[in-house]
Symmetry: C2
Subunit: 424 residues, 2 copies
Amino acid sequence: MTVHRPGFVDVDHAGRIEDVGDATQPPPAGTDHTTQRVSGVLLPGLVNVHCHSPMTLLRGSGEDLPLLQWLEEVVWPREGRMNADDTYWGMTLACAELLRFGVTTSCEMYFYPEAVVDAVRDAGSRCVVTAAVLVAPGMEHLGGWQSQLDTAIGLGDRYAGDADPRVEVGLAAHAAYTLPIEALTGIAEAAGQRDRLLQIHVAESQHEGAELEAEHGKSVPALLEDIGFFEPRRVLAAHSVWLSDEDLAIYRRAGVAVAHCPQSNTKLASGIARVTDFLEAGIAVGLGTDGPASNNDLDLWEEARLAPLLQRARTGEATALPAEAALGLPTRGGAQALGRPDLGVLERGRWADLVRLETADAAFVPMLTDRDLLAHLVWSASSRHVRDVWVAGRRVVANGVVLTVDEERARAEVQQRAERLATG
Amino acid sequence: MTVHRPGFVDVDHAGRIEDVGDATQPPPAGTDHTTQRVSGVLLPGLVNVHCHSPMTLLRGSGEDLPLLQWLEEVVWPREGRMNADDTYWGMTLACAELLRFGVTTSCEMYFYPEAVVDAVRDAGSRCVVTAAVLVAPGMEHLGGWQSQLDTAIGLGDRYAGDADPRVEVGLAAHAAYTLPIEALTGIAEAAGQRDRLLQIHVAESQHEGAELEAEHGKSVPALLEDIGFFEPRRVLAAHSVWLSDEDLAIYRRAGVAVAHCPQSNTKLASGIARVTDFLEAGIAVGLGTDGPASNNDLDLWEEARLAPLLQRARTGEATALPAEAALGLPTRGGAQALGRPDLGVLERGRWADLVRLETADAAFVPMLTDRDLLAHLVWSASSRHVRDVWVAGRRVVANGVVLTVDEERARAEVQQRAERLATG
């Protein structure tokens, strides 16, 4: 189930859900689990399927500049100066933010993936880190694509199996238009051989792939399919704003999932993805915040509300993406998009990543039917109602306070490092 | 100024701002004022220019139904059963919500305007109440338009002058397509004679005025101009989503202001208003939440973020409605739209309606320039950062808690009344 009015949750020793039950039910006896009695409303931990969270370091910088000027004058120079420690602190502040908003899992794409993993492990959150293989001016210090890929594979090998069940390492190709074809096929082959999640940016803006499409005489999704990029079992295509019906058919038959980033896509005027069409076609869709430089926070509640708003603007249908479907996106939809059947739903065997909301608030009044609760969760609740959060059964947020991160220090580190990155 | 890092604020005995200064400045001596030393960031109290706030009673009810079915099966029957006491409690819960979000002034359009005024006075907030004159099936108990108008004029007479400086009473015609022409002219004449704010819904959905436009051979704004509806000094046209260039020129020359309701307009799939065009033409634009039955809360911070997102979706320009302009909408824009030069800006002589935000939070990190603060206020801050609120110098919210409303009772009243309204 996605929404639960507890009752209780039983969590086994490994941190997985053993049972959930309502207040009238006696919790099962036994010593092989812990029982958490909770009031209010319980949700599965939210899943942010596409973010570059360490970009907290660039939050609000160069706002309202035209895209290219912003990238060339603000983002790329600062990212070029970023080191692994900066990334660690950017990610640490992001973890505090994510956890406080009830986002227990994030799928990250950034440089210095090891620093990202370290921050996540220290903060007690959960993530899928996909190291971004990228060949771009100013980023030469990252090395060539093959060496970046080797590093990413090596990091993945270290976390393969049960090294830390909260950390999964995947692979990422930045985009078809920023990498040579042999890099794309090389990354995909590596992902396929090791069954790793494979992430890529596709069709974020309308004309980004125009040159490539002219050269190959086909759309970027068609090209990616042709070169075998969609062959790994789990492929996640971020954004996917500008897809034709044919592209959509490719996603469906190849089992490609979409990371939909509504706020980033509208803020940067990229466009509105065809989310209702994706869902109708049976394509898995999760929600992503994208990076805090372009959003500017990591609040998945905002995305869950914006997604249906934008589908209604796009289709002219006031019933597009109703509350239940919208709430499915950051929960079971996110788990599906990441190919993670161990997340996103409150049921036996899945990880006890839990979010408890305070419902003694005007946002939940009146409550006449169960349907009203779903409406309130999407349309009037927000991250401010998140009170307690658990990851694998461990409490990481209590009464709105993050227990696992020294937020004051994280803020000071990010402030000081951002000053250095800005001035060179 | 709109954003102020205090410092201090001096408030005179009447509740108006005498001086604002930064932390380095000594506050002026004297006994004719009180000095409030504050940390964090100070904004003028936000102004919600279009709402039907007592519809908290219908929040989340009949969600995701097609518009007409929702109105006919849910909204109208329940509103038909609503009495003045219901309205009072719906508005009381709304006042708590508004104040907690830092919204100190709301422009209300609803039945039982006297109950709305009573709730606002008890809650210590500020409002412009425009009684909605409406002729509609199921609403016969409200009386004919002339009798509704007489009641609204009478209420306004009682609050004319200095009866209560926190309460202004205006007039409202529900819409051109729900009232006979003589009612529209009658209401406008009454507003003009008494210099009252005159509010009306215009062009909310694409085809709502089609019949009327066919009959008169002109657009609704052109018709309203012809019959003198725009002659009063202060006219506020809510929504105004579907305006032609000619309609826009009419608004400009007649000095008509717009109440822009981005979330309501997208949720109901009405469309996206031409806000950047309005501003370019010098038309005053404020932000409205619309009623909690169609939004579903009264959080103006969400509107201030959604407005630029939608303008970017509409225009394809990533720099449309930059942060400073977006932040102007719920502050000075709202004051202009209501024709209220005593609100919306932190400066001497205006009402000391103040909102203090807590900025020791990830949403405000990093902060490298003053421009960053504006970006953070629009793109990563939210109503959860509102800590303290004053209306006319009186503290109504302290550390996030509303001092002037018994919220628990208000929630219980709304819950119980909503149950009755739902079942008849």
